[in-house]
């Protein structure tokens, strides 16, 4: 309950902040639409030259674009602004205040900045997913939809956890403030089904920087490409990565306070 109260307090503050920069918000929405246009156009270009890529059709790629945009929104609406705030607070020392607040510091670091208007991106993503799935004409059952949602959530958690680990590294290597670029750089790989990639790239984006776990994998579940043990494996990975990330974060805090040997 208290978590919800806190979240709504953060939301209020962030709405205030985006109102302070109204014109920027409008410009950003326009740019966002421009990129959506480009993404659809680029898919159009690909499919004017072929019918399938990596065994996936046009509709499925539209749906994948939707899922990709979910992850992208997580990146833009939470990860980027909070990374900026985090790095800033390490530089100017205001991190001290964050740590002295009687709330879990990982929570504070995750939600203190929220690019609120990006919420509409989520709606857009949902629309893309629904249209894409319909175009593809795959048979969906209640179970497959449920698995899809679960895997999307757990995949997102995997990426979130990786982010926590990356920023926690700053506690050890103070100069490491371009930490999140690697995540952003490989994010683009999530636009296409991993089945199209050569093996080395597939391994990279599935296991090392696991973008695909949040993009390709949920849709594979929806298509019925994954058996139960695979689904369970990915769910376990989601849970495990979150636990690992919170441990690394705790260690990082110890390092920061000089409690580690």
């Amino acid at each position: 309950m208290n978590v919800l109260k806190l979240l709504s307090a953060f939301l209020k503050v962030n709405i205030q902040m985006s109102l302070a920069y109204r014109a920027d918000t409008v410009v950003n929405i326009l740019l966002n639409l421009m990129w959506l246009g480009w993404e659809l156009l680029s898919l159009g270009i690909i499919f004017s030259n072929t019918d399938t890529i990596g065994g996936w059709g046009f509709g499925e790629l539209i749906a994948l674009l939707g899922v990709f945009r979910l992850v992208h929104t997580l990146m833009i609406a939470l990860i980027w602004p909070n990374t900026e705030k985090f790095n800033q607070s390490i530089r100017d020392g205001s991190m001290d205040y964050t740590l002295l607040q009687p709330v879990n510091s990982m929570f504070l670091v995750t939600f203190s900045r929220i690019t609120v208007w990006r919420a509409w991106d989520l709606i857009l993503a949902a629309i893309l997913i629904v249209i894409g799935v319909n175009m593809a004409g795959d048979t969906t059952t209640l179970l497959s939809v449920l698995t899809f949602i679960l895997l999307t959530v757990s995949g997102t958690i995997v990426i979130y956890s990786l982010w926590i680990v990356l920023i926690a590294l700053t506690f050890w290597f103070t100069k490491f403030d371009n930490n999140v670029t690697i995540l952003q750089a490989l994010l683009d790989a999530g636009r296409y089904p991993v089945t199209v990639y050569p093996v080395w790239l597939r391994i990279l984006v599935t296991f090392i920087i696991p973008i695909a776990v949040a993009t390709t994998v949920p849709l594979q579940a929806l298509r019925g490409d994954l058996n139960l043990s695979r689904v369970l494996m990915f769910l376990v990975i989601g849970l495990a990565s979150f636990l690992v990330a919170s441990q690394v974060w705790k260690r990082g805090l110890k390092q920061y306070s000089g409690a580690s040997s």
Partner: protein, 326 residues
């Protein structure tokens, strides 16, 4: 519950600082084998504060003041010794502890820059779980003492430094902490701003009985607020006692600053010790014993073509430096 609000015993902090030399070769070497220098920031410091005390915590730059405050607020783990604040061990960072103390640092912002402070206050209300009626009551009281009203609606970036500091302090006090750690709360403020904050702190302490430990560069802060001071130097406790005893203990000096109407060809050293002041090249400074000030001043005025003359207290660091560095 211990009788003391703050209890510090043999508290020590040693930093390990990697030794760095310039150049590529050194960088490669240090990658494989790092040499560390040990910096003893705080060494076996002991002191106690009882409830309701305001104590000035003094020392020159790098003496270990901030390190001690950080340990007491829980940000830093000590390398030795112990500390109890309100019965808690600070660095365990128990939420109940965090809800009953505050740390305000003059040079750091906790308020979001782009929005009015009022909104950041509401966020703090949620973070500290302050019930609505209590929040209103505290806010009203702070508003009365600090005259926050007109400042609350403006984005923080549009406030002056003094106004911002008021808001920062208020933000740190919304949860009615029983212990206040203040690190340079008046730094950078003009004289009126400093006086405001000082007055507020005294009144807040009187009303709530909060215990306050503060560091400051300004002697006036300390003389106005604290009856007791603690001095540390090179990480070691050098003095703990009444402020008046200290002035008696170390021979009090005054600084006389002089601008001569003509060129600086006159030798001032016969009047007192010449002191260099990096910030003010125009003036020449001489240091004299407090009881000699009147005599020396009238002598100067009689003998020399004086354009301007000022009498000031020496900076607090110099006093401490002099008293303990012999």
């Amino acid at each position: 519950m211990s009788a003391e609000t703050i209890l510090v015993e043999k508290l020590s902090k040693t930093y390990k600082v990697p030794e760095r030399e310039g150049g590529f070769g050194a960088a490669v070497r240090s990658f494989f084998k790092r040499k560390y220098n040990e910096v003893k920031a705080v060494q076996e410091v002991n002191f106690r504060l009882t409830q309701g005390e305001i104590v000035g915590f003094l020392g020159p730059n790098g003496a270990g003041k901030t390190t001690t405050l950080k340990m007491l607020s829980g940000l830093l783990h000590p390398t030795g010794g112990k500390a109890h604040v309100l019965g808690f061990t600070p660095w365990e960072l128990k939420p109940d502890y965090l809800r009953s103390m505050t740390l305000v640092m003059g040079q750091r912002n906790r308020l979001a820059w782009d929005i009015p402070a009022a909104d950041s206050f509401l966020l703090n209300q949620a973070i500290y779980r302050i019930p609505e009626d209590e929040y209103k009551k505290t806010y009203k009281e702070l508003d009365e003492l600090l005259e926050l009203g007109p400042l609350m609606k403006k984005p923080v970036r549009n406030l002056s430094l003094g106004e911002r500091m008021k808001c920062e302090i208020a933000a740190g006090l919304l949860h009615r902490p029983r212990v206040l750690f203040l690190d340079e709360p008046t730094i950078g403020l003009d004289i009126t701003g400093q006086a405001h904050i000082r007055e507020f702190l005294r009144e807040y302490n009187r009303r709530t009985g909060a215990t306050i430990l503060l560091t400051s560069h300004y002697m006036a802060d300390v003389t106005a607020l604290c009856e007791r001071i603690i001095i540390i130097h090179h990480g070691q406790l050098k003095y703990d006692g009444g402020i008046n005893e200290l002035s008696r203990k170390i021979a009090p000096f005054k600084l006389i600053g002089v601008i001569l109407a003509e060129s600086n060809s006159h030798d001032l050293s016969k009047y007192g010790t010449l002191v260099r002041n990096e910030e003010d090249w125009e003036k020449q400074y001489i240091q004299v014993k407090a009881e000699d000030v009147t005599r020396v001043t009238s002598g100067l005025l009689a003998d020399l073509p004086i354009h301007d003359i000022t009498i000031t207290d020496p900076p607090i660091e110099d006093v401490i430096e002099q008293a303990f560095n012999q």
